[in-house]
Amino acid sequence: MTTTEVAERLRGDRRFQDVLGRLVEMSERDYYNPYRLFDWPDSLPDDAYWMTPELMAEHGTDVWDELPEPRRRALSKWQSINFYSLNVHGIRELLHEIVARIHTADFDVPSEYFHHIIGEENEHMWFFAAFCRRYGGKIYPPRSLRLAGPGIAGADHFLVFARLLVFEELVDVFNQRMAGDDRLHPTIRKVNEVHHQDESRHIAFGRQIVAMLHADLRERLGDGELAALEDYLKGYMRGSVASLCEPGAYRDAGIPEPYAVRRRVLASPAHAGYARRVLRRTESFMVNAGIFRTGLPESAKE
């Protein structure tokens, strides 16, 4: 897609501009100071769940059945630190990509809203990092390296926003559930609640722009190229769920042979059902927007 084509498509869509206007208004209306919003107790109880157990990748697998209850709770602490660490690294990629596009000719129309996204995401990164460092003493290191993607010319903008949307949709499934889980400490619930509130706007934006950029690709790419994009995104979705199984978290929870444990969890039929549940919302959007011709393959589900 050329510069003019992207700009023309975004400028020519009245509905997109209305949505952007509403999102800017909401961001201005709901603006808050994150640096003063949270109560950060000195420590969180180690004998409680830090993460909704049903949202842990191990839940329902043989590995879970073998863990005594105190070990499950310890694992919930380190898996939650991994979850927030993934957020820190995902936000770094998001900021990098949005900053690279703001006030360029292609993205003149959404640039006003990009300012809000950049500001809000910077704050999210701050409170996720603060949580990890305060209660885990570290942020787990980034694991992904950007190498070759599907290699389809002109699909870069679409792929960037689609990857960001997959990341935000997946995280929001966790935030929404954990914000209302009264088994979790109030600070944990608050972090998830605040993130969910802001992300609902970012997801609304992401869905709009991803659907528009794909509609444009449908006019210019062949079936084979569209199928390659679909396959790539499905692989990206499965990889995103797999990243919730971090060997370092098993190690920190005192679970031996962390890499073998990870393989067992990922190979479990219960984990396939888990992946289906946490990806359902993203999958539905992709199918309804015509980005996926079919849902995720059954092997990735059960």
């Binding site: 290191p141 980034p142 694991r143 992904s144 390296l145 950007r146 190498l147 070759a148 993607g149 790539y232 692989g235 990206y236 990889g239 797999a242 990243s243 060997p247 370092g248 890499y259 990870r262």
Partner: protein, 91 residues
């Protein structure tokens, strides 16, 4: 094999470490059409390693080298060829 081959040096002087053998098997299984993979074959250019497959490869590498690898501390060039992987992670 040429004497400079870091993957299988002559005279058994520098045998392939067990861990590297696992890693090689994994790489070959990703693109069987490339056969045994020459030590200087470009794994990134030829998509033996790509974005989606990288994390699984990284975990395999960690498991067989016994060291946690932070992406902050490495570059894509460290994964470019089998020769580079051996030099960087199996020395």
């Amino acid at each position: 094999m040429p004497a400079s081959d870091p993957v299988a040096a002559p005279d058994g002087a520098e045998p392939v470490p067990d861990g590297l053998e696992f890693v090689l098997r994994h790489l070959r299984s990703r693109k069987p059409e490339y056969g045994d993979l020459d030590p200087d074959f470009d794994l990134i250019e030829n998509r033996v390693l790509d974005s989606l497959g990288f994390v699984e490869f990284l975990y395999l590498l960690e498991e067989h080298t016994g060291q946690e690898i932070s992406i902050d501390a490495v570059s894509r060039e460290d994964f470019r060829t089998i020769r580079r992987i051996r030099e960087r992670f199996f020395r």
